[in-house]
Symmetry: C2
Subunit: 551 residues, 2 copies
């Protein structure tokens, strides 16, 4: 029987976020990416969402390395949490990705927890754990992104990472179609390909087109120009800075993550900006509006970000005024639309003209559309395809593209988080499905908030809470004090609360008369009777919390 490789996605399938895939053979495990995701509406009060590390905890001695394809949070953000839980001897990434990761590990006090090793795509294959590994440059919305090819016992596996086929990337590093073609000629057994834009027809525009739009728009602006984009989109920042230099504007960087990323990128040679072009935020007032450009965070309407604070007139250095032009050079992540719209409305109200992706071509995606995925499929000619990185609709769309490209239907694996996909003798098969959850980070707690707490938060958020406190004598089983009723978030009237109190009193008296003294039963009766009364009177179902105190 030929040897096999097991591929187990821990995150990133059926969702956009927390990408993480285990590539396992008898000689050990290499993990591709360790990303996090941001909470959805239903994750009330949750700060971050991590992949479920249980599979790795159970195999803690077998992890040889983590390989990071690029520096976005949904690919590297969970690394500090992973390193706290299991031993990872080596973390491999390209130079910029390592720079971003080092800063992150530093903040978490984890600098010594793994050896950080640099991927140099041009230097050819290296050994990582049990596998020969090669790296292929891919264009994306952050520099220094790579695809990973792993020579494994079960066959040759290619993980694209996030990519688009940008023939005119800002940094000159094109998606390396030649290397991909070479791999295709060698024979790719299994492709794990980015599915984000697989549903979208045609091709994504080059990042350079946004620079051209800046070059066209900004000379027409008579006042200040503010550009908000993702802090990690170094190419976008470079293009904005270039246009500032060309149009006689000096640039101020506002927002912690932007300043951090720009610093790292400049130090490592990924971003060029003359020192005399940059000004501190508190120096902006010394310049005329038409001499300034402000690059800032807040393109997603994040509550404490620079642009949001400016929009709500709460920023120490920048007050938006008539004549300002604000360019929101990003697309709202689904779920953030209303916050972004709120920000735009507030900026418009302060007199700014706001250009955003719904009305002007000021943003392009970092992910390839259907025709680009078709090109990759044509170059790699994979024997098996497992779409990754995306919601189910996106995975299904890539599956259709693979079918169109001639991959037989039974060689296309539509997996989920926790699927065990076995590659053996050049054939990939779904062999098992493990329970795979998510881990919530809430305040200082990692993993302690579970679904039941979220369900309670949801219930509380709908109609509030109504607390009934009854006091019962332990010996004689009579009521000691009249019940108290308090409520929060439930728009009560005094008369309704009094009715609820009387209903609770009546219930307790009746229970005691019938010798029902068991606390749980008493509470249940109070819960049911008061809840019914409130629902009848108001049509609402607040959480009813009966507390019976024995004295």
């Amino acid at each position: 029987m030929p040897e096999s490789t097991r591929v187990v996605p821990l995150g990133g399938l059926g969702e956009v976020g927390k990408n993480m895939t285990v590539v396992e053979c008898d000689e050990g495990i290499v993990v591709i990416d360790a990303g996090l995701s941001f909470p959805r509406d239903e994750h009330l009060g949750v700060d971050l969402v991590l992949p479920d590390f249980e599979y790795l905890r159970e195999r803690r001695g077998e992890i040889r390395a983590v390989v990071l394809t690029h520096g976005h949070e949904d690919h590297v953000g969970a690394l500090p949490y992973l390193l706290r839980e299991v031993d990872v001897p080596e973390v491999w990434a390209t130079k910029l990705t390592l720079g971003l990761v080092k800063s992150k590990l530093d903040e978490h006090g984890l600098m010594r927890s793994a050896e950080l090793l640099e991927i140099e795509p041009e230097k050819g294959a290296i050994q990582i754990g049990p596998y020969q590994a090669e790296f292929i440059r891919m264009a994306h919305s952050i520099p220094d992104s790579v695809a990973v090819a792993l020579d494994t016992p079960g066959g040759l596996l290619v993980v694209t990472g996030d990519y688009k086929i940008d023939h005119t990337p800002v940094d000159g590093f094109r998606t390396d179609l030649g290397r991909l073609a070479q791999l295709g000629n060698r024979g790719v057994d299994l492709l794990l390909g980015d599915s984000t834009n697989a549903e979208r027809p045609g091709v994504t525009e080059s990042e350079r087109t946004v620079g051209e739009v800046f070059r066209h728009l900004i000379p027409q602006c008579e006042g200040r120009v503010l550009i908000a984009s993702f802090a990690s989109n170094i190419h976008r920042v470079q293009q904005a800075i270039d246009v500032a230099a060309e149009t006689g504007r000096r640039v101020s960087l506002i927002g912690r993550s932007l300043r951090k990323n720009v610093n790292i990128a400049r130090n490592l040679g990924y971003l060029e900006a003359r020192d005399d072009l940059l000004v501190r935020p508190d120096e902006l007032d010394l310049l005329r509006p038409e001499e300034t450009m402000i690059l800032c965070t807040g393109s997603q309407g994040e509550p404490m970000s620079a642009l949001t604070r400016m929009a709500y007139n709460d920023h120490p250095h920048v007050a938006i005024e008539e004549g300002d032009t604000v360019i929101i050079s990003a697309k709202p992540v689904p779920g953030n639309e209303l916050r972004v719209h709120d920000t735009i409305n507030r900026l418009a109200k302060s007199g700014a003209e706001v250009l955003h992706q719904e009305i002007a071509p000021v943003h392009v995606s970092g992910h390839g559309n259907a025709e680009e995925i078709r090109t990759i499929l044509a170059l790699l000619r994979p024997h098996n395809v497992m779409p990754v990185h995306g919601e189910f609709r996106m995975l299904a769309a890539q599956a259709r593209l693979a079918r169109d490209a001639g991959v037989p239907a039974d060689r296309i694996v539509l997996a989920e988080n926790g699927s065990v996909v076995e590659l053996r003798g050049g054939i990939a098969r779904l062999t098992d499905q493990l329970e795979m959850g998510s881990t919530f980070v809430d305040g200082l707690g990692v993993g302690d908030v579970q679904d039941v707490a979220l369900r309670d938060r949801r219930h509380l958020s709908e109609d509030g809470v109504l607390i009934v406190v009854a006091t019962v004598g332990m010996q004689d089983g009579r009521e000691i004090a009249a019940p108290e009723v308090i409520s929060r978030g439930f728009a009560e009237t005094d008369s309704l609360l009094e009715e609820a109190r009387l209903e609770a009193e009546r219930t307790v008296e009746e229970c005691l008369r019938q010798n029902v003294r068991e606390l749980k039963l008493l509470q249940e009766h109070i819960h049911d009777n008061v809840g019914k009364l409130v629902a009848e009177r108001t049509g609402r179902r607040p959480m009813i919390l009966p507390v019976v105190v024995e004295v």
Copy 2:
């Protein structure tokens, strides 16, 4: 001094939804539209949002009529609530709008509360309250939409209602550019124009293009075709039914609001569908998949709608299967994106191919883009412009278009809900700004849920609630029973709860030792001390509710 007209928007400015505008002169009030809006994320637990009727309650004897421009919820949905609060002698609307409103009033048991009168745009001017009124047909995403021209003491006022300039509308009723030009030649003093798409360049495509897409796509579908759209988009339904007839498919209508609207539209002659083309949902199983088309509700991912239930495999008559094609012929209202994506993912998982507006041209807007607004401005040549119907960014965009069209800057009024705009001698001025809130409908309650309840719900939803019950003897001021601590939605551990309990006990003992017996003070100390402990241990801030029972 010339006579004046006061225009007071009660809703629809700075928001999309609850459109309602008061047009008032000394002889009385005519209200244009009475719409509702749907709650946003922060309106936790709220079912509907209504305009603030206070201005009308204070002038309850002066209301002569309500005029409805078309039958969408954001223009007619608040009417039943308005009719319950104030006397409205007359409600004017076109035939289809009246049909939809009658059904709504019937459900609310309000059929006799106002005289319902039909607008016939072709019959020329009529008297409504103190004003001569004319109506102009406008194309929109619901049939029978009109603009309103009111001859008022302060000048000629035109309210566009919602519109696009569709030169090939499905029902043949074009936006009546000729009548608009006539009004322009007479001299329009104040234009209240739809701003929804004022930010978007170019023109909106004709509704007919969606029919052409249906005509192209549906013959290629080998299985069932399901189309979800807004229930009120009768033209969309008509086009789908026409293509079904052409391609040998029979049509089943699923979803209460869709069936209701289609019934009304058919009875009034706004929709043509042969009886033998329609099948009941329970007859679908008798037909082959390629002989069927299902039109359904749920294009916004609404929790209990037909499409959502099908997506979650919870519909009594339709189970999604491999080979089905689902067309979501609508755009998510901002805020609904994630729900719509969830629906798409579930449908894809069941094997359906899903076409939606992000990836295929299966939807067009009912609102005109910038070039259409420019055309209206050019035809009407208004002396004053007050952008309405939209978030601030949209109003500001229409203001820019008006400026470009030659309206002087001081004749463009950027008003808000509650602004009092006075039109006198052909000049419009903002003369006052009234406090203008919203009214929440939650369960059976209208207006009782206030901001404080929403703030509490928000707090509860973030970190849950922790309740501390302490029992104190009334006479001797000693603690009678050990405090109890219960929590919901706060991911507590037993040890943390025990710590909180001990902290509460310690606090009560210390207070009593220092002779602090006042209940409020005791509660405050418990609240602060337990809250501090919990925040230190967990980084979370649940709502702390101390209850001190005196026995």
